[in-house]
């Protein structure tokens, strides 16, 4: 463009960006980070084993399914949608993979099939959301019911064992370079998710659709395709989590992952992603998921009475979030 250049007004009223500014600008991530540190400090003081290597690796391994699915859920929620069906998809794939392995199919093939099943389920739901304009809450709530129903039907309510002598169970139990394989898988998924979300046009459109879908459409982007893809990712990653869980438990069950969707959404929202769309943070999601996992683990280590566990868990979350909101008041998210 060659149009007359006018000197931009001087910036006499800008002051340099301080560390504090930067912290406040990332209000929600800063908040959950502080909170996470607070939880870690609390439990390392009150219990013996919390920061032991064994326990830390244990927590990482346990939270792998949560982290994997939360990666996709961050994208879904950032578009302004929600996926309530992830727990059911996890149950379906864990049950189906056990059945198929039990039936003698090679486990590598089963894994590929399960990922395809997850992607297909996501594509069907995504179609209704993106192309038919039905609210994602309704679509995936129906999905939650249908998909878990399928798992129940296939297993008859019984859990299906997976022989522990095949390589497949390594997916949930193996250790590589001193790290549990599920944790490595989760880390890889998170890394890819982080890069996709922050460094690619696709990730940019995900945020844009949540902020103003019509604006993104007017910019010539295929918003429906992007939305569909987000649900496909969510379905596939829920399937991956189902495989990891089945391998770790050595069984597939239609019971798996009940209420999992709420845990995942809680982790994502705790991390600072807005349920109204347009604001998402992958780092926040990681911290949110680890915080949830750390609280669960720490309270067991602290030998808290199980009658008090739900009360204490809820209170910790509420009070800590509240304190952080007071610190970050005026900055950060608006709703």
């Amino acid at each position: 463009m060659t149009i007359p250049v006018q000197a931009a007004a001087s910036s006499s009223r800008l002051r340099p960006r301080t560390l504090k500014d930067r912290f406040l600008a990332n209000g929600s991530v800063g908040s959950i980070a502080l909170f996470f540190l607070f939880v870690v400090a609390l439990f390392s003081l009150t219990t013996e084993d919390f920061l032991s290597l064994d326990n830390v690796l244990n927590v990482l391994r346990q939270s792998a399914p949560l982290l994997i699915v939360a990666t996709a859920m961050t994208l879904v929620i950032t578009t302004g949608g929600i996926d309530l069906s992830v727990g059911s998809v996890l149950a379906l794939t864990s049950a189906l993979c056990a059945i198929l392995i039990h039936a003698g199919l090679p486990w590598a093939l089963v894994m590929v099939l399960m990922l395809l099943v997850g992607a297909l389920v996501g594509a069907i739901q995504g179609f209704f959301v993106a192309y038919e304009g039905i609210p994602s809450f309704i679509v995936t709530l129906a999905g939650l019911s249908v998909i878990r129903g399928l798992a129940l039907l296939m297993t008859g309510g019984y859990s299906v064992p997976i022989p522990s002598d095949i390589a497949f169970v390594g997916l949930g139990r193996a250790w590589i370079l001193g790290m549990p394989l599920p944790a490595l898988i989760a880390a890889a998924v998170l890394l890819v998710g982080f890069v996709t979300f922050n460094e690619t046009p696709f990730g940019r459109y995900v945020t844009g659709i949540g902020a103003n879908a019509e604006a993104v459409r007017r910019a010539g982007v295929n918003t429906r395709g992007v939305t569909l893809l987000v649900y496909v990712l969510s379905g596939s990653l829920a399937a991956l989590a189902g495989l990891v869980l089945a391998a770790r438990l050595g069984s597939g069950s239609s019971n798996a992952g009940q209420g999992f969707e709420l845990d995942v959404i809680a982790a994502v929202v705790l991390g600072g992603t807005s349920l109204f769309g347009g604001r998402g943070t992958m780092v926040g999601t990681i911290l949110g998921a680890l915080t949830v996992a750390a609280i669960g683990n720490g309270l067991i280590l602290a030998h808290l009475s199980p009658f008090l566990t739900p009360i204490v868990t809820g209170s910790i979350i509420l009070v800590a979030i509240w304190m952080n909101f007071r610190i970050f008041r005026g900055a950060g998210r608006k709703r």
Binding site: M1, A215, G220
Partner: protein
């Protein structure tokens, strides 16, 4: 106007929303390099008509031709593929995305690594800064989310986005509504520059004096119909006001005090345009 294939030719465009016939059999022609002022009362249907051309609204009836070829835009992506760009009245920005992200929305500079397209963020930032400077806009911080910008700053970003991607047809729906005086000048200058390069421009504005600084022709809409066309040299502000309002109307705010001086206003306005090709259908697109 006559002779030559029009860049845009819309015929019989109609659109109804519920009980209201927003557009009723509207036609519009636009030559290459021509600047068309589209004026009319609030709710006359200007925005809707231009959204039809940009693909954001699918009309109930009517045909569109671009450079003589019939097109039917089912989405803005298809219109953008034909180099039709639009500055929307509601700006259509993503509030939670930063300035550079909004400028390049849908046209992000990419860097392929292993075949995967990544955002070329350094280039986006550099180009964005250059684009804004060229529009005379100062934004305090290019990484700020646009929801924190002032009204005029937001508008500038919407303009920058539409103007920067080599349009053949540039539609501006009240682009200067929120702009301060220097920024308005820059936008008018921008319109002159691009139309000199052969870009066809549709300018929708309620600042009637601006029309006389940049337009070749005016089209007036009234209650969903195109009711009049005027070549800019054949009309003056008073007539335009009367056409918009639909009856004789005295508007002291319309840029020129009345009754004195209106003859001169058209005169002083015209020479300003002498530097640009006049209605040249042959001007080649950039």
């Amino acid at each position: 106007m006559d002779g030559g294939v029009p860049r845009v030719r819309m015929r019989g465009i109609s659109k109804r929303y519920g009980t209201i016939q927003t557009l009723d059999d509207v036609s519009l022609d636009l030559m290459p390099g021509e600047v068309l002022g589209l004026v009319g009362d609030n709710g006359a249907g200007k925005s809707t008509l231009s959204k039809v051309l940009s693909g954001a609204v699918v009309p109930d009836a009517g045909t569109i031709e671009i450079d003589g070829r019939a097109v039917a835009f089912a989405s803005p992506a298809e219109a953008r593929a034909q180099h039709v760009e639009m500055v929307y009245q509601d700006l259509s920005l993503c509030d939670t995305v930063d300035v550079a992200g909004n400028l390049f929305l849908g046209r992000e500079p990419r860097r392929r690594v292993l075949g995967i397209p990544f955002l070329d963020k350094p280039r986006m930032r550099a180009d964005a800064a250059a684009m804004l400077t060229s529009l005379g806009i100062s934004v305090p911080d290019i990484t700020v989310q646009v929801e924190n910008l002032s009204g005029g700053q937001r508008q500038s970003i919407a303009i920058g986005r539409a103007a920067s991607f080599d349009p053949k047809v540039l539609i501006m729906d009240e682009p200067t509504a929120a702009l301060a005086v220097a920024e308005v000048e820059a936008v008018l200058e921008l319109i002159r520059t691009v139309s000199a390069r052969g870009v066809s421009v549709i300018l929708i504005t309620h600042r009637l004096q601006d029309l006389f600084l940049v337009c070749d022709r005016l089209q007036v809409m009234y209650e969903g119909r195109a009711i009049a066309q005027r070549s800019i040299v054949d009309t003056d502000i008073e007539e335009v006001v009367d056409l918009i309002v639909g009856r004789k109307f005295t508007a002291r705010s319309a840029g020129h005090a009345r009754p004195a001086g209106h003859a001169r206003s058209a005169e002083t306005a015209r020479p300003a345009r002498s530097d640009r090709p006049s209605d040249s259908p042959g001007a080649s697109p950039p």
